[in-house]
Assembly symmetry: C2
């Protein structure tokens, strides 16, 4: 039985994916502005042998036809929301093993400063950082950043591809591994023959010069990606080291797992060099029925209109404006194909009902710890999935429940580590010694000597 | 006798302003990649009742005629250098009172994400953050960010002015003070009538939408600025709450202090609402002569060529290419007037000798703790300066020397607090209750209701 990888899915805001749950007395997310709230969570995750804390992000908030209704603010639906990257240094200092994945967008952040931020984080965390690469389709964000045009989906991925090539050039090619000597006796900090000028003149970016940051433990952060559209999947197959899949059942998930491995192999990568992750929520109860009642109670706090607009924000699709019997997958949308494809074959009515209830949660498992771990084990065996991004209902309650009751059962069956091995996040995913991108990853080609990438 | 404000001048890299000192056995800056190095420093500063840690930054490194000579890397002259903002969350979590000022550039960072980062920091630090606003003149940085044109000096300040107006609109005008209710009983997080859409269509920036971050303790971070050119000074007079001055002697400094106060009054601000800060280094010894020997030993590590290129990077002026007898102030330069005006009336030879020896240090005071505090006291009395940015030679040695020997003498004479008052950084600078920008500050005009700023 292979061991699973375990992440915790979070956002630096008031609601996660269930808009309205902030108001529960047992949900303490209103403390999100307080670093102690996050430090307590990080230490809890480390007690539960989690691999990583995953920090989602977007500058977007729900808007329909240019308007943001009042209930969006009343329910704190995606707004307010603070920068998540700035949590990581404090959490890294308060933990020893937990890794941190954080989202930044190739559509709105400058590549050079983004690369320097990740290099800095990799230094400060001693190699415990991952980058969740997203492209931004939201016109709301376009308005906030003053972009005067909507970037079409496929072009966003073309930009992202060039962005990553440039990031690899900086992170992998800027300094050789042995460039820094720091020899005080000889008064030589770095060997200038091993620091390389990056020359990138592409279609979207022009960068010439040296990278500010010296080599960090992992160099390129572990690359996460979640795109489920065809261009998103192709991008993930080329670049991602961990992908978030969206299978709502074991059969779909299994297909997605093998599909991403095949696509990675097609571009010359080791198919096992891409870890597959899917969303997981659990509700522990003395029985499935008791857990179901608890789940219903959680979901009774979801604000339906806020959930509908949250979906519209991500996809451009307003359930209320569509024929309830139409096939949702047939609705054309420039934006948010990931979220639409999740409901392939479902009617608008079914999709709306499911999304309003569950938000972006994937598997929701109910029952006793044994029953839950049975289901996890079956899912892993049936699909070859590598791990889960645990999505809480309330915090820290959902985490405590999982760490105190489910984790011991996972460990008893050999599904989860019982202690951390030392090493970087990449080593935890791919084995001791694998601190750097593997040779079959396209980023590895950017090592050595000066580079001139011109397209 | 008024109490002084005390900052520590640092950079997230290997050398501060004396290129080459990294190699000293008693200088531990090679540990800059280790968060523990910074946590130890922050706690030491807090023990010494410092007001703030000041983190300088630039993406630039020394380049002359498009070339970066090998000795730049050998001496780690401004490169490598990591992102400094990412130190703050960890240091805030490890301290209780120390504030943090960090540099970002209005030339290269997007205003919306920059404002969200500072709002996030203000939340996480509970109001202990300041923004050192810089404009970037370096063509090196332009090449790294793909800007295809050199931004002329005065236009850079016009951009900065609009950037700050937009930042005030987001930070001060996005949410009313009482917008967040977080009433779980009534299930109302924020009052939508108190969250305002920002509409800014200016000459340089277009931003429309809501600000992601809810009100933080200080809202706008304390604004620091260092521009010494006429447009820089005008910008500081309008916007800065603390300015770094560059007087090399008491008479010049006194003139600068009164000049900035006058200029602030001219634009309708309280002249005391701008604190004046100047650089300070000290070397403690049993006598002035002993301290001088210690200083000479420090400076013997300066690499002359690296220092010369460091100056050229900041100013565009290469001492070696000029007539040594020419008046440096007469040399035309688009870039770096701040650094040139520092040597007004000096010949190229004198300026070069001074800069190579001292870097950007202002006052260097030598002697016993008593002799040093005598000089500080005289300087404060003669110039009305409000505080000092302490610039170490070695770390943590220069800090330990100051905290253990000079601080007690400052405290004995009532020149420095003996314990921290509670409150935000702005309150520490301007008094209890002054958490927010004062009404006479231009940022205060951006409060209340929806804003339409169109120029």
């Amino acid at each position: 039985m292979k061991q699973i990888h375990l992440g915790a899915f979070e956002i630096n805001g008031v609601n996660l994916t269930s808009q309205g749950l902030w108001a529960r007395p047992d949900h303490h997310s209103v403390r999100y502005k307080d670093i102690d709230y996050w430090i307590e969570l990080a230490r809890l995750l480390e007690r539960g042998c989690f691999d990583f804390l995953f920090l989602a992000d977007s500058y977007a908030y729900p808007t329909l036809h240019g308007e943001t209704p009042g209930f969006v603010f009343e329910q704190a639906a995606e707004i307010p929301k603070n920068d998540p990257m700035l949590l990581i240094p404090a959490l890294a200092a308060a933990t020893e093993h937990l890794a941190f994945a954080v989202t930044t967008s190739t559509t709105f952040e400058a590549p050079y400063s983004n690369a320097r931020r990740f290099a800095t984080l990799d230094h400060l965390t001693k190699g415990r950082v991952a980058w969740n690469v997203v492209t931004t389709s939201s016109p709301v964000v376009g308005d906030l950043f003053g972009h005067d045009r909507f970037v079409p989906h496929d072009e966003r991925y073309a930009i992202a591809e060039e962005y990553l090539q440039l990031s690899y050039a900086l992170l992998e090619g800027g300094w050789d591994d042995d460039a820094v000597i720091a020899d005080k006796e000889r008064r030589i900090y770095a060997d200038p023959t091993k620091v390389h000028r990056i020359v990138h003149h592409g279609k979207y970016f022009d960068v010439e010069g040296y990278f500010n940051s010296e080599p960090s433990p992992q160099r390129t952060p572990v690359i996460f990606q979640a795109g489920a559209s065809s261009s998103g999947r192709a991008f993930a197959a080329r670049n991602a080291e961990a992908v978030f899949l969206q299978g709502a059942d074991a059969a779909t998930l299994k297909k997605q797992v093998s599909d991403i491995r095949e696509k990675a192999a097609e571009v010359g990568r080791d198919p096992q060099s891409v870890k597959t992750i899917v969303g997981l929520s659990v509700v522990v109860g003395e029985s499935k029925e008791a857990a179901q009642r608890k789940l219903d109670d959680y979901l009774s706090y979801v604000h339906e209109e806020a959930a509908r607009l949250y979906y519209a924000q991500m996809t451009g699709i307003d359930f209320a404006s569509l024929d309830p019997n139409a096939d949702l997958g047939s609705i054309p949308t420039e934006q948010g194909r990931t979220q639409v494809e999740r409901y392939a074959g479902k009617s608008v009515r079914e999709a709306a009902a499911d999304f309003i209830r569950h938000g972006m949660r994937e598997f929701i498992l109910l029952g006793t710890p044994e029953e839950i771990v049975d289901q996890i084990q079956e899912l892993v065996e049936a699909t070859d999935i590598d791990g889960f991004n645990y999505t809480p209902f309330v915090s820290p309650g959902s985490y405590e429940e999982f760490v105190d009751q489910v984790v011991p059962e996972l460990q008893r069956r050999g599904l989860l580590r019982t202690a951390y091995e030392p090493g970087t996040f990449r080593e935890r995913l791919f084995g001791a010694g694998q601190r750097r991108l593997p040779d079959s990853h396209p980023g590895a080609a950017y090592r050595h000597d000066s580079l001139a990438v011109t397209r």
